[in-house]
């Protein structure tokens, strides 16, 4: 990866989590240079999560927090909860203003560099919003 001209943008974070280098760098490249999200940056959240994240800003100012993971990886509930918690903190700093929506996505990286995105939401809030009277 260090043979790539843009690796230096994530090198600091990769140094702390070298086993996640490929997932982080390929997700970061895809988010910033292929999907064209603005203000993309890689961060290593505090709190012992150990998973580097990528924050970015959407076209409408909302914050997007991406969790680069491998296709054959498994998470427990505690990890998912920690991801949601850290994402809220990071997303506020990435958004244009504190009232912007923060969305958490899984960026699933395959071994041929394919990246698939899935949104993680709070099921209770989503269902309540769907049932709310128009």
């Amino acid at each position: 990866m260090d043979a790539h001209p843009r690796f230096h943008e994530v090198a600091d974070v990769c140094r702390w989590a070298p086993q996640r280098t490929r997932a982080l760098f390929q997700a970061y490249l895809d988010i910033k240079y292929a999907q064209l999200f603005g203000a993309a940056r890689a961060v290593l959240p505090s709190g012992g999560l150990g998973l580097p994240l990528v924050t970015a800003r959407g076209a409408r100012g909302g914050a997007h927090v991406f969790v680069p993971v491998y296709a054959d990886e498994r998470f427990g509930l505690a990890t998912l909860a920690a991801i949601q918690e850290q994402a809220q903190t990071l997303g506020i700093s990435a958004a244009d203003d504190s009232s912007s929506a923060i969305t958490v996505h899984l960026a699933i990286v395959e071994d041929d560099s394919t990246v698939s995105y899935y949104t993680l939401g709070d099921g209770e809030q989503s269902m309540a919003a769907a049932l709310a009277p128009v």
Partner: protein
């Protein structure tokens, strides 16, 4: 490929290309019925068989006319020539995916600092990827959906931006340009490029544009191309001697659970040997997607393949659960694909003198067996 490689694969057996399952939703003889197939081995040089096929076609078309007599005499010496070429010339494994060159690639490995064990790896091709893409749709650009096109798109956007700037400076702005800008302002987007066309906002040095997007080969593609002699893999710096196929397999295997890479590689080899273009199926919840010759650039895939380890008789499960099978089948149906469950039966690991099992080294694919099942939803209302 050398003569030694041909001997390793064993006696050559022509692959029956007509044994491919027919397209899409058509019912085949193999529907709902697994068929046991041994992995195919070498099929011989492409040119002579193609000439033979052409002659046979001419004979069928021309019928019993006098022209066929002049063509018929070609077939006998052609048969002898084929046998001679078969015995003498270096073999090409798969004539439908013949890669007419040996391409250089670099292997990048991330190692655990404590143990030195490889924890992740990937293979990049910077030069010669066009050969791999055009002859079997191997690889994927890391910033594109298929072959690497990021640099070309970026340069095109920059040229358009420079052209617009030049027109603004020289006064060559047209009414349509003004209309487009006013429409963008009414829709709430700024006058500058929004996220949908902000390649112009990317600040990439001109010297780096060509290096932004190498082609990445999956471990299975790298192993396959290495085995048929079309890929030369070196270290990350590109220097040093090329890795042997066994060395490449050893490094890639360290990054996977024991036996998992060999299992998927056997299935990959099986479908590639039958002329399918095999791509990742992660977006459809499966292991592979099968495309006809020409790859994803020509048409959508027809089959979605899930690879499973064939366990002892009576213990193999079609899927993790029938609910999972139903979900996967529904997903494939929505995407207009047929679901294939591919069971791979590996040989038992060779026992070492001390009683431990030896899983090192590339697998001997001649000892693997494949069994396929086509799974489709049946609607009783359509009886």
């Amino acid at each position: 490929m050398t003569q030694a490689h041909w001997q390793k694969l064993g006696s050559p057996v022509a692959v029956d290309m007509e044994a491919r399952p027919s397209a899409g939703r058509k019912r085949t003889r193999a529907k709902n019925k697994g068929h046991l197939s041994a992995l195919p081995v070498v099929q011989r040089p492409a040119l002579l068989p193609r000439i033979g096929i052409l002659i046979d076609w001419c004979r069928r078309v021309l019928g019993g006319s006098r022209a066929t007599q002049s063509i018929a005499w070609l077939s006998k010496p052609l048969a002898w020539l084929s046998r001679l070429a078969y015995a003498v010339l270096p073999g090409n494994l798969l004539w439908p995916t013949l890669v007419p060159a040996r391409v250089r690639a670099t292997l990048h490995v991330v190692r655990d600092e404590a143990s030195g064990r490889a924890v992740d790896s990937w293979v990049w091709v910077r030069d010669g990827w066009e050969v791999l893409w055009q002859n079997g749709a191997f690889g994927k650009g890391i910033l594109s959906r298929a072959d690497p096109t990021w640099a070309a798109r970026y340069r095109r956007e920059k040229e358009e931006e420079e052209e617009e700037e030049r027109r603004r400076r020289t006064g060559g702005v047209y009414l349509e340009d003004i209309t487009r800008q006013r429409r963008a302002a009414r829709q709430g987007t700024t006058g500058a490029a929004d996220a949908s066309d902000s390649m112009r906002l990317l600040d990439v040095a001109a010297a780096d544009v060509g290096r932004m997007e190498p082609m990445q080969l999956s471990p299975l593609e790298a192993l396959f191309l290495s085995e048929i002699g079309c890929l030369e893999v070196r270290g990350a710096d590109g220097d040093g001697p090329p890795l042997l196929h066994a060395e490449l397999f050893g490094v890639l295997q360290e990054c996977h659970p024991p036996g998992a890479l060999a299992l998927r590689y056997a299935a990959y080899y099986y479908y590639r040997a039958r002329g399918w273009v095999v791509r990742s199926g992660v977006k459809f919840g499966s292991d592979f997607l099968l495309y006809r010759q020409g790859g994803p650039a020509r048409a959508h895939s027809q089959y979605s393949v899930v690879v499973r380890h064939a366990e002892a008789e009576g213990e193999s499960r079609l899927c993790a659960s029938w609910q999972y099978a139903a979900a996967l089948s529904r997903l494939c149906t929505q995407a207009r694909k047929s679901l294939i469950v591919c069971y791979v039966s590996p040989p038992p690991p060779a026992a070492e003198p001390d009683g431990s099992s030896n899983c090192a080294g590339p697998p001997d694919l001649r000892q693997y067996e494949i069994q396929e099942f086509l799974v489709e939803r049946f609607n009783p209302n359509d009886k």
